[in-house]
């Protein structure tokens, strides 16, 4: 998977936390939509965890680009905003799930594993 959030301390922290999981490999981390997209093109990860609000368009822009380029990467949105407008925008842009930052890390891990399952399942089927 890859990860993108404009708050560097959070990227550092989540990268370490995710890297401790035996079934998760963090291939790279970015600070904005453009970096996130570059990482996805380069690694074509199963999952990209994207902060909804980042410079250069944030999660929605990166998610739309990932979809329009036909990458198999599934997007898990990470958000500090618990409102329907933000959630709907992110889901409409192609995210498969929307995880709030005020939830425990276990929810993020679960969302990543689910997304990875669907990503791999689909690529086998196609």
């Amino acid at each position: 998977m890859v990860l993108a959030d404009d708050q560097e301390a959070i990227v550092d922290a989540l990268t370490r936390l995710l890297a401790e999981q035996p079934d998760i490999e963090v291939l790279g981390a970015g600070r904005n939509a453009e970096e996130a997209l570059k990482l996805c093109i380069e690694h074509e990860p199963d999952v990209a965890v994207l902060d909804v609000r980042m410079p250069q368009g944030g999660g929605p822009v990166a998610a739309m680009e990932i979809r329009s380029r036909g990458l198999r990467t599934r997007v898990v949105a990470l958000s500090a905003f618990d409102d329907n407008a933000t959630r709907d925008h992110m889901m409409a842009s192609g995210a498969v799930s929307y995880v709030l930052k005020d939830r425990p890390v276990s929810e993020l891990l679960e969302a990543i594993r689910q997304a990875a399952g669907s990503s791999q399942g689909e690529s086998v089927a196609s």
Binding site: E8, A9, I10, D12, A13, K101, P104
Partner: protein, 268 residues
């Protein structure tokens, strides 16, 4: 003690990720069966004194559990740091400091039941030896100014790296104030642009001199009327200009009239 927050009960027989990652951390909201009574010193003074060679006790306050857990993992990797508690609200933060006496508290500015500056003010009033490092997602000047006013030792925008968070904790523990240069430059800029004080800053004598200036009196006239040397009057005028942020006597009078420091009737 009021029960401030329900801990999400993990499923039977399952340990939550939080517990696994931070298994030596006692949560302040862990409930009465996990009452934490490490210290008996009610004021917290003795227990938060530094002892050479001891680990730095760190408390984390962030309502985003994911961020708090992440910061916990990051800080725990440092041998000289020990995470003593994690809280998600202002009320929990106060309880955390009361019960766990951290040397350094990492405090998120935006919390569900108040802001970080208010929390810091209260915490530092009750436990003045605690060092508070403010973390903020938005690095606004206003937040920085309020944090400094509240007595925080450091201020870090969240776009800083984990390494900088660790440095900030250590600097705060050593009694240093850590504010990133970029943030400081913004603050100085703001202070330079801000009006330099108000009527309340004028001394009684400066106020008298200002009123006489408004009447169109010269330095010489004022000095003879007030029995002061011209040099002293010029000093008063300089101070008035600085305090009102004016560049000339005329501007000082205009500013003073506009702000209601003097009334136009003073001229008659």
């Amino acid at each position: 003690m009021q029960n401030i927050a329900e801990v999400e009960a993990p499923e039977e027989g399952m340990r939550s990720v939080t517990e696994i990652l931070l298994d030596d951390v006692e949560y302040v909201n862990a409930g009465p069966e996990r009452e934490i009574i490490d210290f008996v010193d009610p004021a917290g003074e003795a227990s938060s004194q530094r002892v050479a060679g001891e680990r730095i006790r760190v408390g984390i306050v962030d309502d985003h559990a994911m961020v708090a857990e992440g910061l916990g993992v990051l800080l725990r990797e440092q041998r000289d740091l020990e995470i003593v508690g994690i809280a998600a609200t202002v009320a929990e933060a106060i309880e955390l400091v009361e019960r766990r006496h951290p040397h350094v508290l990492l405090l998120d500015y935006r919390l569900p039941d108040g802001d970080g500056a208010t929390a810091a003010t209260e915490i530092l009033r009750r436990w003045p030896s605690t060092k508070v490092v403010m973390l903020s997602a938005a690095g606004g000047d206003e937040l920085l100014a309020r944090s400094i006013e509240a007595g925080c030792s450091g201020f870090l925008p969240k776009d800083r790296s984990g390494r900088e968070v660790v440095s900030a904790v250590r600097a705060a523990y050593r009694g240093e104030s850590l504010i990133p240069t970029s943030v400081l430059v913004g603050l100085l800029d703001r202070l330079r642009r801000a009006p330099q004080g108000k009527a309340g800053d004028l001394t009684q004598r400066e106020f008298e001199v200002l009123r006489l200036l408004a009447k169109g009196m010269s330095t010489e006239g004022i000095s003879s009327l007030l029995f002061l040397s011209e040099h002293t009057v010029r000093n008063h005028v300089r101070n008035i200009l600085a305090k009102l942020g004016a560049h000339s006597k005329l501007e000082a009078v205009a500013v003073a009239a506009r702000d209601g420091i003097i009334s136009l009737e003073d001229r008659t």
